[in-house]
């Protein structure tokens, strides 16, 4: 009987609210209004992964980025032999696939049961067509994020080279 009276939409609204709060914290979507974040959340796919389930394989064609709503994800190379990162709630990965169709450079797998939001390149391009201002803002932030990763990688590489030479 409870189900007749319970607000069954509360759970849906809560999920959407949680998703929007997580998206707001991501650099690619920073400074976007709540309405814009809602629009982005509407085109994203929500997926549930079990522990150990593979999100995408190294070498597979990249199609989009993933945002962790809950749970943990491990990024590895060479069939799990090298662990690159362990990501948790609020983190994101695979964003390079928003720009091109290059093969994935690593494997992503769920370390625990997790919920991911996925934004795919084709959906982002569709968004750019019907809302060019929002699409361009996202692309600029995406470029900044990738640039920041590149700078960090360069610094790390320089530090490693310095240590080796020393």
């Amino acid at each position: 009987m409870r189900i007749l009276w319970e607000n069954i939409f509360r759970d849906l609204r809560k999920k959407q609210k949680d998703s929007i709060e997580i998206l707001a914290a991501i650099p690619i979507f920073e400074d976007l209004s709540r309405r814009e974040l809602s629009e982005i959340e509407r085109i994203m796919h929500r997926r549930q992964y079990d522990q150990g389930e593979i999100v995408f394989h190294q070498g597979a064609q990249g199609l989009g980025m993933y945002v962790i709503v809950s749970g943990e994800v491990a990024i590895t190379r060479d069939t799990g032999a090298h662990l690159l990162a362990e990501l948790k709630e609020g983190d994101f990965f695979g964003e390079l696939a928003l720009l091109d169709d290059s093969p994935r450079t690593a494997t992503a797998a769920a370390l625990s049961a997790c919920t991911l939001l996925c934004l795919f390149q084709a959906d982002l391009l569709d968004l750019m067509q019907r809302n060019p201002r929002l699409g361009v803002r996202i692309m600029i932030r995406l470029a900044r994020t990738i640039g920041a990763r590149l700078r960090k990688t360069n610094e790390h590489l320089a530090a490693v080279l310095c240590r080796e030479q020393a």
Binding site: H45, R47, G52, F56, T79, G80, T107, R130, N131
Partner: protein, 356 residues
């Protein structure tokens, strides 16, 4: 370096033997085919509605980019389409009736009878080796011009046809255009994670291949119809508008369409003039239109993304026609191109999982 433990997969259930997987796949395909044939009418309505939605979707997206909501954009597109259809009905339809009545009068006057009868016996003699005993061009033209309008009106008066095609189908198309994104998202939520990315890619490929192909073909058909109608009007062929419209529609079907449009145009020119004076000019007019279409219109307007061998194109058109009539011939090419991508991606995915 420490591993993550991810290489140690959880215990998976024992694999089924290969023969049971193949049997299950065959049963599923057979069941789907049976459903498809049983519900053929419903499938046709949904297929045609989806095709129209593919064609109208970019217009709705364009209006959305101007600041309209999806609902407002879809409504605006529909109002424009209804306006165009009404204009066509009130201007073109009476013109077609007038042209067909004029052609009917010429046929019944008998001025072309002698020429047509000579042509019929010539064709019958030439094709006697194939078992053709007689050819009835004049009788067929007489049936076409006297019954065509009557049959069309009977169809419109038929309540079931009216409700299905003029009420239900536009509603289905409206909701396909308005809610396409939500429908896609809902369908994708049913796909298991293992096949999620590849299914999404296939869905986007379907949209781009089928959508771009259809939109290009419709625009090309419109341009060809106008060119043929204009050329025949210049040649003073009385049924110029009707033949132009027929040529435009026939052009939707690759290779076979243009030929199918030329034959009635030649036959009508013989009937109207009572001789073969305009046959060569009509053939030259069609050749010029085809040349302009192939060299200037198609490269700009029609997508070449399907990438099929011309023989494959002909075969799939014939199969599509056998299964679903004219609509089957129209969608056969882009649908086969999509199936080709499905097979390629499935093989690549299977290879990837074998290697993993």
């Amino acid at each position: 370096m420490q591993g993550t433990g991810l290489t140690e997969r959880p215990q998976s259930p024992p694999r089924l033997p290969r023969w049971s997987t193949v049997t299950a796949a065959v049963l599923i395909v057979a069941g789907a085919a049976y459903l498809l044939i049983t519900l053929a009418d419903l499938v046709k309505i949904l297929l045609v509605s989806a095709l129209f939605a593919f064609i109208l979707n970019p217009l709705a997206c364009l209006l959305e980019s101007r600041g309209l909501s999806r609902l407002a954009a879809t409504t605006a597109v529909f109002l424009v389409v209804i306006g165009v259809v009404c204009l066509a009905f009130f201007f073109l339809f009476p013109l077609f009736i007038e042209e067909l009545n004029s052609l009917k009068a010429v046929i019944e006057s008998g001025q072309a009878r002698h020429v047509i009868e000579r042509l019929e016996s010539y064709i019958a003699d030439s094709l006697a080796f194939a078992g053709v005993e007689e050819v009835k061009i004049l009788d067929n033209l007489r049936v076409l011009t006297s019954n065509l309008i009557g049959r069309l009106m009977d169809r419109f008066v038929d309540v079931a046809f009216f409700v299905t095609h003029l009420v239900i189908m536009p509603l289905i198309i409206f909701f396909f255009v308005k809610d396409a994104r939500q429908m896609k998202k809902r369908v994708m939520s049913w796909v298991p994670n293992r096949y999620f990315e590849v299914s999404l890619k296939l869905l986007h490929t379907l949209e781009s291949q089928v959508g771009m192909y259809l939109r290009g073909q419709v625009l090309d058909a419109l341009i060809v119809g106008i060119m043929v109608g204009t050329a025949l009007w210049i040649l003073d062929i009385k049924a110029a508008a009707f033949v132009g419209a027929f040529a435009g529609i026939a052009n939707l079907i690759p290779y076979l369409g243009p030929v199918a449009a030329l034959l009635p145009a030649v036959a009508i020119s013989i009937v109207e003039t009572g001789g073969f004076d305009k046959v060569i000019p009509v053939i030259i007019a069609f050749a010029v239109v085809k040349l302009i279409d192939d060299s200037a219109v198609q490269p700009v307007v029609v997508s070449r993304s399907v990438n099929l061998h011309p023989l494959a194109v002909l075969l799939v058109i014939i199969v599509g026609g056998k299964l679903f009539g004219i609509m089957g011939m129209l969608v056969a090419v882009p649908f086969t191109g999509f199936l080709k991508v499905v097979v390629q991606e499935s093989r690549r995915l299977a290879q990837m999982f074998r290697d993993a």
